[in-house]
């Protein structure tokens, strides 16, 4: 089990760096992080020694960058036929799903880690609360994991990467906005309060912002953990039921 996950993980990781994907993604990620922090987030105008301007835009950054990363995960295997090779090897779908997911997650963690100069900068400019920043990084990683699990599952539905991208971005948007009036107003008129509250509790923003305040609440960890587990499980189910067609 672990051995096979490790094999898939290594293959995937190698795949990122054997192609321009890794370099393009890392550069764009860092570039956009900078734009969001300094121009959109008004880092200097805030005159605060924190990275709020940086982290607060992560949901939006991930909204289109993570689907770009996940759209190929399974759609490409279907397109090239290598899925047939993969699933005629002595390998369980769950192992392949976890291996691919973990590779993508580690890769995102690498991109995130490469933003460390921001941390150094804010530390040199003032006295930031390092606990809050560390918690924010962890929260951001969970957020990325959620987006990745969604994207991986939806990529398994199609052999077309564009469709995979659009589906993942749309579902991701739904999860970002589900705490927002835009979505809740749609339900609040007719649905019972319980349903509206449940939908609101699915929001990425609520849980992510809670963590970026510096408090890693068990509830938020469970939220992201179960979200990832659910979508990865769905991913396995999709692969099991659809096979190669």
């Amino acid at each position: 089990m672990l051995r096979n996950i490790r094999m898939i993980f290594r293959r995937e990781m190698g795949g990122y760096f054997a192609t321009p994907i890794a370099y393009v993604f890392l550069v764009i990620f860092l570039f956009l992080s900078g734009i969001f922090t300094f121009y959109v987030g008004n880092f200097f105008e805030r005159e605060q020694a924190d990275l709020y301007a940086f982290f607060s835009h992560h949901p939006w950054l991930y909204l289109f960058l993570i689907p770009a990363l996940t759209m190929r995960l399974w759609a490409e295997e279907r397109k090239t036929g290598s899925i047939e090779l993969l699933f005629t090897l002595p390998l369980r779908p769950v192992e392949a799903v976890l291996g691919k997911f973990l590779a993508a997650w580690c890769f995102t963690a690498l991109a995130l880690a490469l933003t460390f100069p921001l941390w150094l900068m804010v530390a040199s400019l003032g006295q930031p609360d390092h606990g809050v920043i560390l918690a924010s990084y962890i929260g951001s990683l969970f957020l990325a994991g959620g987006f990745l699990a969604i994207g991986s599952c939806l990529s398994a539905l199609t052999r077309n990467q564009v469709i995979a991208f659009v589906l993942a971005a749309t579902v991701g948007l739904g999860f970002i906005l589900s705490g927002h009036a835009m979505v809740l107003d749609f339900f609040s008129g007719w649905a019972p309060t319980l349903v509206v509250d449940t939908i609101a509790s699915f929001s990425f923003l609520t849980h992510f912002e809670a963590i970026t305040k510096g408090v890693i609440d068990l509830a938020d960890v469970i939220y992201f953990g179960s979200l990832m587990a659910f979508w990865l499980f769905a991913n396995v189910v999709v692969l099991d039921s659809r096979g190669g067609d």
Partner: protein, 317 residues
């Protein structure tokens, strides 16, 4: 080793595979023949556990495939149609991955990879990304991953497709080498491949199994089986044709070629008749100037055509 009973696969509207049964034992090489879209690949995908059958069952080495697909997959080496691989990997890293998933590690893993690269002659390209390789090398990479673990069961979907004649010859030799202790199924649309490689032939058309027999028996289905081709060093085949037509067991005589210096006739036997000796005797008695006499074993293409077109007229849409 492989046992298939009443295997059926239905995709939305089409029955791709329709109630097929056969078995393949150790030492056998079963050649899967059939027109494009006949159900060859679908059958192979079911045997290798990639697609699940709509009905029927598959037994691999005495155990139902559905019961323990992983155990079956460990015993099987499979070359899928088109020999897919991950284009960004090199043959060496690709085989390393396959060897890892197949459970080899350390020195054994390295030994397997080296031996396989050697066996299918991938040495010169071992460090090149697979996407940059020629079709022939890509096919060999696919073949390499299928045989790396020395499987008891080898299933190959068009193993020689896209190879040049020398490479085809190499692959056939490779398959013959491995045949003794394995159960092998290969599909091909090159009928000439059947005689040197296969011990049995299975013909599929429209998802149905039309024949499962030895290559010799398959050849015998040809109208040309045991036909005699007679070349005479004289023009005017008329009287000869007449005399031959009266011979017992002869179904007909065709004139294949005719010019001022000679003529070539093909004498077709009635089904099951051997007429070569009689034709020879007659030629001697009549004093015909025989320049050549040749007995046809039958043409695979022709046998194939006879078999598959017959089903076209009989079979329902």
């Amino acid at each position: 080793m492989i046992e298939i009973r009443h295997l059926t696969k239905r995709f939305r509207w089409i029955k791709a595979v329709d109630d097929i049964s056969f078995e393949v034992n150790r030492g056998e090489v079963l050649g899967f023949l059939g027109p494009n879209g006949a159900g060859k690949s679908t059958t192979m995908k079911m045997i290798t556990g990639f697609l699940s059958p709509t009905a029927g069952f598959i037994t691999i080495a005495g155990r139902p495939l559905r019961q323990d697909p992983l155990a079956a997959k460990r015993r099987i080496g499979y070359l899928p149609e088109g020999a897919p691989a991950w284009p960004d990997m090199t043959p060496e890293s690709f085989l390393g991955f396959i060897a890892g998933i197949r459970g080899f590690s350390g020195a054994e893993r390295r030994r397997r990879i080296e031996a396989t690269i050697e066996r299918v002659h991938l040495g010169p390209v071992r460090h090149q990304p697979i996407e940059t390789l020629s079709k022939g090398f890509k096919r060999r990479v696919g073949l390499a991953q299928a045989i790396l673990h020395d499987p008891e069961i080898l299933i190959m979907d068009e193993p020689t497709d896209g190879l040049d004649p020398n490479q085809k010859q190499e692959v056939r030799a490779l398959i013959r080498d491995m045949a003794a202790d394995k159960a092998i199924i290969l599909s091909t649309h090159i009928l000439e491949e059947v005689r040197p490689v296969c011990t049995r032939v299975a013909v599929i058309a429209r998802g149905r199994l039309l024949a499962d027999e030895s290559p010799a028996a398959f050849e015998a289905r040809s109208r040309l089986h045991n036909a005699v081709t007679l070349t005479l060093a004289r023009p005017d085949p008329g009287p000869v044709r007449q005399a031959l037509g009266l011979l017992g067991g002869v179904a007909g005589v065709d004139t294949l070629a005719e010019d001022a210096s000679g003529c070539t006739l093909r004498i077709l036997p009635q089904p099951g008749q051997v007429i070569a000796a009689a034709v020879g005797r007659l030629a001697q008695e009549q004093g015909w100037p025989v320049a050549g006499l040749f007995v046809d074993r039958g043409h695979l293409e022709e046998a194939f055509r006879v078999l598959t077109t017959r089903s076209d007229t009989r079979g329902e849409a």
